[in-house]
């Protein structure tokens, strides 16, 4: 049988000689008899994904293996591209919010908040105190569910199935709360420019308080099963190390950055929604490996829980929406009975909320890193450009660097530790 290998001409990993993103041919080039390229040795080229149990969606990794050692990884993205940013250019600001649900679909509420904050900065709107606290609750609930999904899927990738179900149970409890608040479990669309879609129902606050009281028990159980487990530590310690400098060079953010020892958290460094008034700590890693990322996310869950408790304690009464009829839709009954309200209702539905000419960028600390929303307005009710800074896409760019020289099993662990969501990576 003749040797069938594939030649890869890459100047730097992932780029071809002209600096363009490399396209690895699926069929071998130049396969005339006697002209078969040889990589020198028996390198095995395998395709991890787009359908593979450990690629967390439709990520495709073309992996070149020497035995089981990873020589090179080339991530191929775009299988879930939906053109959200372009779609946003044809929608009113409030209509963009449902699109944000579907980017990082593991933390929809936080995405809603990010877009609303950017639109409000563009329009110069100050939201009400109750709305601020409720948005903090939305963000931290998102952080917990996102980290729970991360924890569960990562433990499955490493072979531990049981913590996955424990983590998903906690996530279900938050989903129940989200459903109570917005009517949707996943696609929440909870924010509106200048406020919220709805106030929380009466049962929400006691429900969330019960959650914050019982959630640490599950965290402790997971901690007991994994943290000091020799197999878990052996699989994660020293794997996929990013030094401080490398983490900054690769523009990482969120837990990936902090696990490498860089103390940057948007909530502390560029506070929004009054995060500076909450008492919480930002955990920092020491080694920058998969194990540190695990410990860090576990601790972030504790800190989020702390923030949730404080937010519940201080939740003020009052309106959730700003008192501005040009921004906030009047209630249905008023629109039907009050002439002025009806006009505002008509104008908002037909024309949307107009933003002055200008641009705004708001970065928030999403569970996966810094989520940026950049809006450019030409004075109409639709942005001329909407750009998302997707944290997991940028974090994913460090994967080839982290995985080289490790084993195939380590590649799975490293890929899991990045915490990607393909909806956000491909947008």
């Amino acid at each position: 049988m003749s040797k069938r290998t594939v030649e890869l001409e890459l100047a730097t990993p992932g780029l071809d000689a002209r600096g363009q993103p490399a396209r690895v041919p699926l069929v071998a080039r130049g396969l005339e008899p006697g002209n078969e390229p040889d990589l020198g040795g028996e390198h095995l080229l395998i395709n991890l994904g787009p359908q593979h149990p450990a690629t967390h969606g439709v990520l495709r990794l073309v992996v070149e293996l020497d035995g089981e050692m990873v020589v090179r990884v080339i991530p191929h993205v775009g299988y879930l591209h939906s053109g959200f940013e372009k779609l946003g250019e044809y929608r009113h600001y409030n209509q963009i919010i449902p699109l944000t649900d579907r980017t990082d679909y593991l933390s929809p509420m936080a995405n809603n908040v990010g877009l609303a904050l950017a639109a409000e900065q563009l329009m110069g709107i100050e939201i009400t105190p109750r709305c601020q606290v409720l948005r903090v609750i939305a963000c931290e609930m998102s952080r917990i569910i996102s980290h729970m999904v991360w924890l569960g899927t990562t433990s499955i990738d490493l072979g531990a199935f049981t913590p996955f179900l424990w983590a998903f149970q906690e996530r279900e409890r938050i989903y129940d709360l989200q459903e109570m608040w917005t009517g949707a479990r996943l696609t929440t669309s909870v924010t509106r420019v200048g406020g919220l879609m709805a106030d929380v129902p009466d049962a929400f606050v006691p429900g969330l308080r019960h959650f914050t009281n019982t959630f640490p028990n599950t965290l402790a159980e997971i901690d007991r099963v994994l943290t000091r487990n020799a197999v878990w530590a052996g699989r994660t310690q020293g794997i996929g190390v990013m030094t401080k400098a490398e983490a900054i060079t690769y523009s990482l953010s969120g837990p990936m950055l902090r696990a490498s020892g860089v103390p940057y958290d948007v909530r502390k460094d560029k506070p929004y929604l009054g995060y500076e008034t909450y008492d919480f700590e930002v955990p920092i890693g020491e080694h920058g490996d998969v194990y540190d990322r695990y410990l860090l996310r576990l601790e972030e869950c504790h800190q989020s829980n702390r923030i949730l408790r404080q937010a519940l304690d201080r939740l003020p009464d009052g309106p959730i929406n700003v008192d501005d009829p040009r921004v906030i839709l009047p209630s249905k009954s008023r629109a039907m009975s009050d002439m002025e309200a009806m006009i505002f209702h008509f104008k908002q539905v037909m024309e949307g909320v107009k933003a002055p000419v200008g641009e705004a960028y708001v970065g928030i600390e999403n569970p996966k890193g810094e989520l940026g929303n950049y809006l450019v307005s030409d004075g109409t009710a639709k942005p001329v450009r909407w750009r998302i800074r997707p944290p997991s896409f940028i974090n994913l760019s460090a994967l080839p660097k982290m995985a080289e020289g490790h084993l195939l099993s380590d590649l799975i662990a490293i890929n899991a530790s990045v915490d990607i969501v393909m909806g956000e990576v491909d947008r």
Partner: protein, 392 residues
Amino acid sequence: MSDVAFLVITVVKIVVVFTAIMVGVALLTLAERRICAWMQDRLGPNRVGPQGLLQPAADGLKNILKEETLPAQADKLLFLLAPAISFVPALLTFAVIPFGAPLHTKWGDIPLVVADLPVGFLYILAISSLGVYGITLAGWSSNNKYSLLGGLRAAAQMISYEIAMGMSAVAVLLIAGNVTLSDVVARQATGTPLTWNVVPLALGFLIFLVAAFAETNRLPFDLPEAEGELIAGYHTEYSAMKFSMFYIAEYSNMVTASALMTTLFFGGWDIPFTTWDNTAPWTLLKTIASVAMFGAKVGFFLFLYIWVRWTLPRFRYDQLMALGWRVMLPLALVYLTVIATAIWYLHERLGWVYDARFALALGAVNVALAVPLFFVLDRGRLVSGSVAREGA
């Protein structure tokens, strides 16, 4: 006993053992799903029949009715043969394991073992290593890179742990003075569980236990199928009943390994604190009691298998190899040397015969060996990351 009677009795035993294992395997799949569900706060299959007892039957029916797929360019013959090759040795191994006290009948004693071979243990070593051929051939013949990696892993893993497994079991044979498994059981059945080999050979049992987990490809050693990495490893391309055969083989291997641990280290069918096993009257009832005892012990180890599987993450390939060659093998060799010397000293110099005192003396040697093992060769050194963490 005439030749004809021997033939008839052997055929009856084969049919009974085969049926028992197949039914046991079916129930084991259900037990695994119910137990893991219990560990994970969910219910598990409980819809088909009372408490889901008919679930295995439904699964079997589904697997028979499903489409058989054959990947393009697969090696047809080996692809079809591989499930059978892995399935048959898993059942063959059970032939030499005594599963109950000999049955007294008016036609003579009937040993409750399919074939009481004089080379019983050697037979087990020989047959149990054949199963890996099925896995490796399945990986190779599927024409799938993931399957190939899974098959290669299985081959390397089986070779690495076979040695440690054999070494740790040699100590049992030293005590029994024989490789026939009936004699191994008889030597342990002295009326007190102190003479079960797990007391004099505690560390040997530990090595055997770990090696048995690796031999059966169960978590934390399930690298050949490693679903997170290799999709399903060697059986990625298999469907329907051929896929099911691999599962039956895996679970039969578990049953056999559990039975082996019971026989070698936990007194086989011996009922603790009794010596009336096969003396008249009521020999039939006593034999049934000993079979039940055997079943209970095997059940305990099966539960241990399931318990461990749903608790631990998976090893990485190089860690598995390091554990096998750098830890288990030297450990088994040193252990065998020490135990052989101790047995020689107790038996030849002090003239002790094997009884509780003998077992306890050897047990003390085990404790003395366990202290340096667990406090000097600690967890961090036995299993560590590929890059050692400073100060951790």
